[in-house]
């Protein structure tokens, strides 16, 4: 693997990292925490490139490849958690940056016309999204489940219009079914994949492949 290949394989980090830095600088005075979190994640993306380059250099050293196989294996087993940690941190920092330090928007005109501080319900949104997630992406039902539970609590507190209560309850139930379906499918997939994996390895070793 040449230096160009290392750079090319890190493009997935470098291009968004550069965009992130530009945005962080632009919004630094308006939303400092988000800008700092984004900058930190971008800096970690650059660090990933540095680590990749160093590892590439070490692995390409013929001394390690030819003489010390154990060292090469140890290097591989160390590098995996390092990359997992770096990639995971980049993502988590960005996820944290999305909602940090946001000011809640003022009430919509339609909400204000209702008089009090009661917001309009989102029963239809929850219901439609939960069905879409059940049919297409069951794992995403976690979003509608959280939304529905939060809105039901808001109705109990009197902060939200109670007209959409029934839709929300159905949405929550559909989301829970979708999540349960996803978990069962996930466990089954892992079980089947492990069986296929082990079976193929056994066949491969016995010379059938």
């Amino acid at each position: 693997m040449s230096w160009i290949d290392v750079l090319r394989s890190n493009m997935i980090n470098l291009i968004p990292a550069t965009i992130g830095l530009i945005l962080a600088v632009r919004f630094f005075h308006r939303s400092r925490t988000a800008a700092l979190l984004t900058t930190l994640s971008c800096a970690l993306a650059w660090t990933t490139l540095l680590v990749s380059m160093i590892l590439r250099g070490i692995v390409s050293t013929t001394f390690i490849q030819e003489v010390n196989h154990d060292a090469l294996e140890a290097l591989h087993s160390i590098s995996l958690p390092v990359f997992i940690l770096l990639e995971g941190s980049i993502m988590l920092l960005l996820v944290a940056a999305v909602f940090v330090d946001r000011k809640p928007p003022t009430l919509l005109a339609a909400d204000q016309s209702q008089g009090a501080n009661i917001s309009r319900h989102r029963g239809v949104t929850t219901l439609v999204l939960s069905w879409v997630f059940l049919l297409l992406f069951p794992s995403f039902a976690i979003t509608t489940l959280v939304m529905g539970v939060q809105d039901l609590r808001a109705i109990r507190r009197g902060d939200l219009d109670s007209a959409g209560r029934r839709g929300m309850i159905i949405g929550v139930i559909v989301s829970a079914i979708a999540l349960a379906w996803f978990l069962i499918a996930l466990i089954a997939s892992i079980w089947i994949a492990r069986g296929v994996y082990d079976g193929s390895i056994a066949l491969f070793r016995s010379g059938i492949y």
Partner: protein, 194 residues
């Protein structure tokens, strides 16, 4: 068995943040719809990437795609393109979500106040001492503030402090660049020597 769990583990960096992104989207969907929707889209891409990588790793591990396959190079090319596009899309959407709707509040004053100027120096110093890539923010924000200060009628009180933060940022970035080049040269030299 160990390789199988290695494969599962390697999907973790995209899988777990995607779950957290979905929960956060659900929590804030009512108040901040645009960032929540962008975050759901990002989670979708990251999730697809995790599933795709997992499938490819399993296929490779099980020997379904072998090193003697005549189309192996084409496969590697397409595999890289798919994986990179999905991850890059996820990153880009998350970055957009972090800043979308941020301009709706109080207007940007443009240049730094005294407190912000001191914070800029702090960021510059921290980047120099701890994490040099961070210096790029001190550099860019400092340069932007100084450019605004040069405008007619702008407040010049914190000019020196902003300048100091910017210089610290430049030094940090320069040091990081030198580190990168030195690391590359050292590795090259060691490789050639051996």
């Amino acid at each position: 068995m160990l390789s199988f769990f290695h494969t599962l583990l390697s999907a973790g960096p995209t899988f777990l943040p995607a779950v957290m992104a979905l929960i956060a989207s659900g929590l804030y969907f009512r108040r901040f719809r645009k960032p929540a929707l962008l975050m759901i889209a990002a989670a979708l891409l990251l999730w697809l990437n995790a599933l795709y990588s997992l499938s490819v790793d399993l296929a490779l591990g099980a020997g379904l795609i072998g090193s003697r396959d005549p189309n192996l190079e084409l496969f590697i090319l397409i595999d890289g393109a798919i994986s990179q596009s999905l991850t890059m899309g996820g990153y880009a959407l998350l970055i957009c979500a972090a800043f979308v709707g941020r301009g709706d509040g109080a207007p940007d004053v443009g240049h730094a106040s005294e407190r912000q100027a001191r914070e800029l120096v702090l960021i510059g110093a921290l980047s120099l001492l701890l994490f040099q890539p961070l210096g790029i923010v001190a550099w860019m924000v400092g340069a932007r503030d100084l450019r605004i200060m040069r405008g007619a009628g702008a407040d010049q009180d914190n000019r020196g402090t902003v300048m100091l933060g910017m210089v610290l940022g430049i030094v940090s970035v320069a040091l990081f660049g030198v580190t990168l080049v030195t690391a590359a040269i050292t590795v090259n030299v060691v490789t050639n020597m051996v």
